[in-house]
Amino acid sequence: MTCLPGKTDRALGLVIDLDTCVGCQACVTACKGWNDQGYGVPLSDQNPYGSKPSGVFLNRVHSYQVQPEVAAPMIVNFPRSCLHCADAPCVTVCPTGASYKRVEDGIVLVNEDACVGCGLCAWACPYGAREMDADEGVMKKCTLCVDRIYNENLPEEDREPACVRTCPTGARHFGDLNDPQSAVSQLVAARSGYDLMPEQGAKPTNKYLPPRKKDRPDQASLLAPLLDIKATGFAGWLDRVLGKI
């Protein structure tokens, strides 16, 4: 049923650190690589080596320039994927029951065997998280690597989403955001993690950690105290003697 569960036991999701992300696109590649061969139909490409290539990706990394009022501009790399919203608008609009939100862990999934390919769920999503597969005519979206995270055939360190596992800078974190004691929840609390487009009312599960403010040119350097070296011992005696001559 495409009615949303009022409350899910857990709320699995991602926490993405915009301060750490370097925009290397490794998560995009890892996501495409894993989901080409796992859950559902492969993520097809159209005309991949031609002049107008296109294809389905479940994760895309944008890059923005932020110009503060009185400081140098910042470049912020910004991964964008399904936020596994608590009030997922993509689920309730689905006419066939293909889209659903799992009660046990809050993951939003598409049962591709029931998807009619009407595209209404992609219209309903404010975040552009869903892309239609042009070959199969079914909707694709992030599964939070549901075929990895519970997969006992994988070594334990691999039981997390492919994007998280591959991130070389540790900018992506995976966990239960319903549990205030979880590492991701504590990270969100410590770093003021926020929701994207809260005005859209979807109550996203995934959180983003803001980039830290950069130094300003007129601010004293954090290294200043270290540069004020007080010599001790023989060097200190020499320093004092030479100072008196």
């Binding site: 925009g23 990706f57 006419p95 999503c125």
Partner: protein, 289 residues
């Protein structure tokens, strides 16, 4: 949003068809061959539209599943209302043709279902918060007014048609006026979309991908926006002004013959604008609307 021809044809034709069927089931009492011709026209428009809508599906063979989620999905409700309306009105049509004398109440029930179908079509768009221009009660109302107007014109009801055309003209202008400020009122910007707005002025530094994708093709359709004033004027003239003149000044039954094709063209122009002008908030991630 991408104005897919199948969806434009579906919403215009089936809207007009269901409006016509509703009037045939209630205020009209054709009999014999005349009834057959009129009812056929109504059923043809309504079902042609429904068939057209199947062309934008990725897997049309699974369309039967669209009847399962009526509890939450307006698209599913629309499917139910459409089929029920056609099923309830079919015996009414037979009764009018063959003089079976079925109770009129069945026609009223069918009319209610026909209008419910049109309202549900409008709600499919109005429920989508991510497209602020659509997320307003005026959308299903405008769809209903279009259905009533098209039905009155096809049925050749001079007085009601003139009144409906006047209401439709006002409705279209109101729809555009409300819609033009909707995106700003929704409050979504690149700043809220990325959450970086509090740090400073946000702009796109590099796109996430250099080629096109489904999102850009389907939801970030920016073609022909500069022609909007011309198209609006054209839609108003074709859908409202010229049919109004035809119904007012052409004698007898000739009014509808001129008014219906013009109104249909105007309705198609309006519906094209309805999609082409609708801006999805996902465009904010791409610095486009």
């Amino acid at each position: 949003m991408n104005p897919a021809p199948s969806v434009i044809i579906f919403t215009v034709l089936s809207g007009m068809g269901f409006g016509y069927l509703a009037l045939l089931g209630t205020v009209h009492d054709y009999s014999g061959v005349a009834a057959l011709a009129h009812w056929f026209m109504g059923f043809f428009l309504a079902t042609a539209g429904l068939v057209a809508s199947a062309f934008h599906l990725g897997n049309p063979s699974r369309a039967w599943r669209a009847f399962t989620q009526w509890r939450s999905s307006w698209l599913s409700r629309e499917a139910w209302f459409a089929v029920l309306a056609l099923l309830v009105l079919a015996p009414v049509a037979l009764s009018a043709w063959l003089g079976l004398g079925l109770p009129r109440a069945l026609g009223w029930l069918g009319a209610a279902l026909a209008f419910a179908t049109v309202a549900a079509t409008g709600m499919i768009y109005a429920q989508i918060r991510a497209v602020p221009r659509w997320h307003h009660w005026n959308v299903p109302v405008l769809f209903l007014v279009f259905a009533v107007t098209g039905g009155c014109l096809l049925a050749g009801l001079r007085g009601p048609a003139i009144a409906a055309l006047v209401v439709l003209g006002a409705g279209m202008v109101l729809h555009w006026r409300i819609g033009d400020g909707a995106f700003a009122r929704a409050g979504s910007t690149m700043g809220t979309a990325t959450g970086l707005g509090g740090l400073g002025q946000t702009s796109v530094f590099e796109p996430a991908h250099t080629a096109g994708n489904y999102l850009l093709h389907e939801m970030i359709y920016v073609v022909c926006r500069r022609h909007v004033p011309k198209l609006r004027a054209l839609a108003l003239i074709l859908a409202v002004a010229l049919p109004l003149l035809a119904m007012l000044f052409l004698p007898g039954r000739y009014g509808p013959y001129v008014a219906v094709p013009l109104h249909l063209l105007g309705a198609l122009a309006q519906r094209w604008l309805f999609f082409a002008q609708a801006e999805h908030v996902v465009g904010l991630y791409y610095g486009k609307r």
